[in-house]
Symmetry: C2
Subunit: 284 residues, 2 copies
């Protein structure tokens, strides 16, 4: 039995190249200006996963020649206190980008906290201003994971014009902005989600599938259209994505592995946008 | 030969009811506060269609007990001058809502002008803040035509959950926000547009179709899924919509006529949101 196998979209390699370019730009910025691009990370509480993510982001910053400033707040921080801390970073001229590690705990108004990030420092692409800019195709920062997905599609020369793109998931920082970015690139975009009645039928239409639901092996391989491009933005316990990888790889033309696909691109975009923010502030 | 015929969605009647409710709220606001809800309309140049639209909106305001303040600027107004005029209205406590009649002329940065509208006075739903609020399901003002479409769907008890909704058109104040509002109501939403390769195939999937392209009879009746709900937001010369009405009416369960469908709802939502803005400012 012969089965064709999809080509892998190597997010690890693309992220490495992106970070190398970013590091070169950061070094040039530092040389020209005498200051170093700086990302402020804000962590509320001590959720182990969040602590790990923030540390990883700080490590990557250090390797790319980006300073990081860490703000740690106790779990019992109020919305007002968090907004005040983020506002201070928004006003601090030494800070170029701000990342609020989320989730922030159910007692905090996360949206209010995000909105305290100045749009010109929103290198994680979480504010309403950034969302609207993505929707309207205006300059601004993109949400990092959707931004990473677009870079992967471009790196593998995926033509999006007129293609059916199906986004499974509609979160504010992943599914929704991913769909808007694909729409901005002239794809015909369908949003599916938990209330979609016939998900298989919708998935079968996809020339480009973006899975962003956070449910292991949720998308069946048999539903992948032959020749489709499959982007798995899911990352579930046990290094499992949202797509049945083995089944999908038999039908897709291109597919992201999990891990090593979308994941590494998210941090790469965060770093790149931090240097973008620093450059833009000085009009470079 | 017997053909079933769709039920008409009577936008004229629904708009009348909406305006009556709005007028009652405006009168109550005036009685309680001694001030009258006020919509500022801004017109740049003297394009006959724009002049007509603005006059119509002012007349409707007057009938609903809403004051209107008219700002007329010459065609040669610069972006800076227009932004300054709108900013003054944003800061004027006597003004509750602001409408910039568009298009504003190619030499003006329309987005900059829209963004000068304070979000709490954006009763036409054109700012980036309003767009993001629609995207995130947060409180705010909706774009008037998409808002009118949602009111029509609700008035005719159209269940959207899990339904396939297809939006043809992706403008910033019609197609895109309409899709976001439908997504917020748990429809599975597809955006089609000028670069969509097989529009007929996409339209045939639609349980709910929103046509918003501005091309007469662009959607073929034969592509309407039997039993679909057809919303025609197009309004083309000769009182013709974007959908082949006769053909579509044979297959749809519900359909908006043109004129008398979506059109009247747009102004009704504008008036309703102007009174909303007045009430919200006083915390009513």
């Amino acid at each position: 039995m012969s089965t064709s196998t999809a080509r892998l979209m190597d997010g690890t390699a693309l992220a490495r190249r992106t970070v190398e370019e970013t590091a070169a730009r950061a070094a040039e910025f530092t040389r020209r200006t005498g200051t170093t691009p700086c990302l402020a990370t804000v962590l509320v509480g001590a959720d182990p996963a969040s602590v790990t993510y923030v540390k990883m982001k700080q490590n990557r910053c250090a390797k790319a020649g980006i300073r990081s400033r860490h703000v740690e707040l106790p779990a019992e921080t109020t919305t007002e206190e968090l907004v005040a801390a983020i506002t201070a970073l928004s006003e601090d001229p030494d800070v170029h980008g701000i990342l609020l590690q989320h989730p922030v705990g159910p007692h905090i108004d996360e949206r209010a906290a995000f909105e305290a990030i100045a749009p010109e420092k929103d290198v994680d692409g979480v504010t309403m201003a950034s969302f609207a800019a993505m929707g309207f195709g205006l300059p601004g920062f993109v949400s990092c994971t959707p931004g990473g997905i677009m870079r992967l599609l471009d790196a593998y020369d995926v033509d999006l014009t007129g293609k059916r793109a199906v986004v499974v998931g509609r979160s504010a920082i992943l599914g929704k902005p991913a769909g808007l970015l694909l729409l901005g690139r002239d794809a015909t975009v369908t949003y599916c989600h938990s209330r979609t009645t016939d998900l298989s039928a919708a998935v079968r239409e996809a020339d480009v599938l973006v899975a962003a639901v956070g449910k292991p092996n949720f998308i069946k391989g048999e539903d992948i259209k032959p020749g489709a491009v499959v982007i798995d933005a899911g990352y579930n316990p046990g290094n499992v994505g949202d797509v049945d990888f083995a089944g999908a790889a038999e039908r897709a033309s291109l597919i992201t592995p999990v891990p090593g696909g979308v994941g590494p691109m998210t941090i790469a975009v965060l770093l790149a946008q931090t240097v973008d923010a620093a450059e833009r502030r000085l009009g470079l």
